[in-house]
């Protein structure tokens, strides 16, 4: 597979947007399951109650890859890692819009054999169009 061509053709353009409503109970469960103890994450009555820092990493759009993206995975795939940039708090009741693009594509070999890394970037904005976070998801597909 020609990775350079794949990258040139499929990176850098927005291929999906999706809206998500932020639910208070999900914020609390996420925070408590992750061992958060700060009241701004665990107490819905706190003046600064907000979603945990990496909360937006749970959202995925209507499409994970652009329409007509070539089928690479013959053996399956997995999540190789995530990078979350926090820009502004997410509050209960917010409507967050996530815009997806492919940020990078590269290949390498590892313990599980040859892998193609697709870096999926989602930019999240709230209903006031304020940037709240950017999440890079490194998904591995195994040819």
């Amino acid at each position: 597979m020609d990775i350079a061509s794949l990258k040139k053709e499929w990176t850098g353009f927005e291929f999906d947007t999706a809206d998500f409503v932020v639910e208070e109970q999900e914020m609390l469960d996420f925070a408590l399951a992750c061992g958060e103890v700060e009241p701004r994450y665990t107490d819905a009555t706190h003046a600064d109650f907000q979603a945990p820092t990496t909360f937006t990493s749970k959202f995925s759009g209507r499409r994970i890859l652009p329409k007509d993206f070539p089928r690479i995975a013959k053996r399956g795939g997995f999540d190789a890692g995530k990078c979350v940039e926090f820009h502004a708090p997410v509050r209960a009741g917010d409507t967050i819009t996530g815009a997806s693009r492919i940020h990078d594509i590269y290949e390498k070999t590892g313990r599980s054999g040859p892998m193609i890394f697709i870096v999926h970037r989602m930019e999240f904005r709230n209903q006031r169009r304020e940037l709240v976070s950017i999440v890079d998801w490194r998904m591995v597909q195994q040819p």
């Binding site: 590269y106 290949e107 390498k108 070999t109 590892g110 313990r111 599980s112 054999g113 040859p114 890394f117």
Partner: protein, 208 residues
Amino acid sequence: MILDLHNHSVASDDGRAKVENYCQWISNRKLPLDGFVLTEHRQFDQASDYRALEDEYGLLVLKASEVETDYGHVLVYGVNEDLLHAFDFTSINLSLELVIKEADRCGAIAVPCHPGRPKVGMCAHYAERGPVEGVSVIETYNGGSRGDENERALELAKTHGYAGIGGSDAHIVSHIGRYGTKIDREIKDEEDLVRALRDGAFEAVTWT
């Protein structure tokens, strides 16, 4: 001199360490290292110049590469212009025979790393296809190894008479200095290192 011969910086796709922070860590933790080598994945970082850091911290900072072959990953020390034109460092399908041959021709040395690791280590490939000529040194102590992977590497070295080096395979700052290589002479640059590795003037060491 003791050098940590296998580490990655932010220049590698999965590296998260800044080189200055490696230097600070070695100094702060008083690690018994005289320097380290940056072995970036599938590239040679020609642009970076670490001489100022070397002067500030009194450490030797050398540059090398980790490439991917049909017998697993290989560290290449002494990368130069000739070698950069000899094969594609970004390929994940290089021939180990070619990498060894071209390294020898260009005055560098190719050292298979983490040989005990599945798929990307030499042991599994040797078991299937037999040994490759031209290997003289392998990495016997790798800081990222799991289970008995280092033991398998040591066994391979013993079976084939290979000398062994040590390296941390650090991708974050705090992982540098888990293993090293004790070299019996002063090393000032990459050429000195290649000569020492060719002469067998070293042993893999650990202090953790």
